[in-house]
Amino acid sequence: MSMQQFTVQNLATGYGDLQVLQDISFDVGAGECLCIAGRNGVGKTTLMRALSGELPLISGGIQMQGTEISALPTNRRHGLGLSYGPQDSVTFAPLSVKENLTLHYQDQNLERYEHLFALFPRIRERLEQSAGSLSGGERKILSFTRVMAEDAQVVLLDEPTEGVAPENIDHMATVIRSTLQARHSVIVVEQNLSLIEAIADRVIVMDHGAIIHETANGPELRNEISNLLKV
């Protein structure tokens, strides 16, 4: 079996006594995009939090390029090349947009963001404003920009399009596709079927804390997922 970029084995996690996820397994190869769909409250965000290290595992494992990372804290996983854009509270609200984008680098250089500013000019316009004064959608775009510029081997995005206007969703798809071309892996939790169609290689559908369906992207994808979510 070839070494995958990112592997999850029999993962189980939850909050306190409450187990939310059981027996989740999947892997993602280099240059591959995996999308995770499912109704609200089925555990998608919980899964992302477990992958990023915000939530400890009850059992199972997570490997990145063969290294077991499930015991490492979030900041260490980041150091190994795992970037994560969470669903909620995605910015440092009292800090300026510029500080949000530069604080985790040694230099305060914005050059690494140039190609992203070209697609999302609004972010460049608001550099000196506090991130808390941005609208919900703008904050999501800011978070997306921060994540994608990190150029990490594995990218986790939790509902990047929530509150984002359609033309910017298209731009997000463009950015994600170019990351995939650079042989990086992307895992996206998403409700927006248009984005899923545009970027996914494979889609897994979750319900009640487990994976209930896995499929490849194709012309029937929209119907397939819509039917599953209708129940």
Binding site: E54, N75, H78, G79, S89, L95, E99, T102, Q106, R146
Partner: protein, 283 residues
């Protein structure tokens, strides 16, 4: 002429030492959002370090590293044992540090007793400056503080460290997501604030009376400066120190000590009510 030179020197001295005392409280409140009610006790520990060094017959300059190490270590321990659990619970940090201040004060009392102590100046005598005699130790202190604050200002402007700490306070989860070791950073900031208070205590030791209850005055003064100057910037700290130092000395000169204190209180209440973010708010 001579009296105005003296007034100028006295005011500069008051403002600079006030800024030194406030610095530790400002670091901890500005960066961690914790109003450290035990701040004054850290100053006191620093002063007792100077007393201990002098009683042992060692050169007084050794009190500076001793104070930094002692208060820094105490701060480190306190962050690790108490404060760490209380971020995002502002009322509780207020109460817990209040409890800590009692604890430290009683600890000092057990170790050194209740009586007043004093430390003699390492260099005595005075120097003639623009027609007035002024104590050498004070002049040396002022020069050292000016250099120190200038260096701190340059570092603060150039470094990313302050932004990272603020980021950590605003959204600790996201801070770890972008790779910051938040636990370590917070502990360092708290220890730095405590050490800075300890350093202030050691430097001022020859000029103040040293007793277990000395901390409260330093806490209150520092607190008023923060209220007026605003948080999170060195500029605000100096504006606040100047205003409070100036108001207190002007009030006391014109109408007596109580009036100076009352003036400062009134100014603080007005600021808390009408402009709680202070004169020089965070950008």
């Amino acid at each position: 002429m001579e009296s105005s030179v003296l007034f100028l020197l006295n005011t500069s001295y008051a403002v600079l030492t006030l800024a030194l005392v406030v610095l530790g409280l400002a670091i901890i409140f500005g960066l961690l959002g914790v109003l450290n009610m035990a701040h004054g006790e850290f100053v006191a520990i620093g002063a007792y370090c100077a007393f201990a060094v002098q009683s042992a017959g060692l050169p007084l300059i050794l009190s500076l590293p001793l104070a930094i190490i002692t208060t820094g270590a105490v701060g480190w321990l306190i962050e690790a044992s108490v404060i760490r659990h209380l971020y995002k619970r502002p009322f509780d940090t207020l109460l817990a540090t209040w409890g800590l201040s009692i604890l430290l004060r009683e600890g000092i009392e057990l170790a050194f007793g209740l009586e007043y102590r004093s430390v003699s100046e390492p260099v005595s005598g005075s120097v003639r400056l623009l027609g007035v005699d002024y104590p050498i130790y004070r002049i040396m202190l002022m020069v050292a503080l000016l250099i120190g604050f200038a260096a701190l200002y340059v570092w603060y402007r150039r470094s990313n460290a302050g932004v990272r700490v603020r980021a950590m306070i605003a959204n600790p989860q996201l801070a770890t997501i972008v790779g910051i070791d938040t636990q370590k950073l917070a502990r360092l900031a708290f220890a730095a604030g405590a050490a800075s208070a300890g350093l202030a205590g050691a430097m001022l030791a020859p000029l103040v009376r040293i007793e277990p209850f000395m901390g409260i005055d330093f806490l209150l003064q520092s607190f008023f400066v923060l209220v007026v100057g605003g948080l999170g910037s060195l500029e605000g700290l100096f504006i606040g120190s100047s205003l409070i130092g100036g108001a207190e000395s002007a009030g006391s000169t014109l109408m007596g000590g109580t009036a100076g204190y009352v003036t400062v209180l009134l100014i603080s209440i007005l600021f808390l009510w009408l402009k709680p973010e202070g004169l020089h708010a965070r950008r």
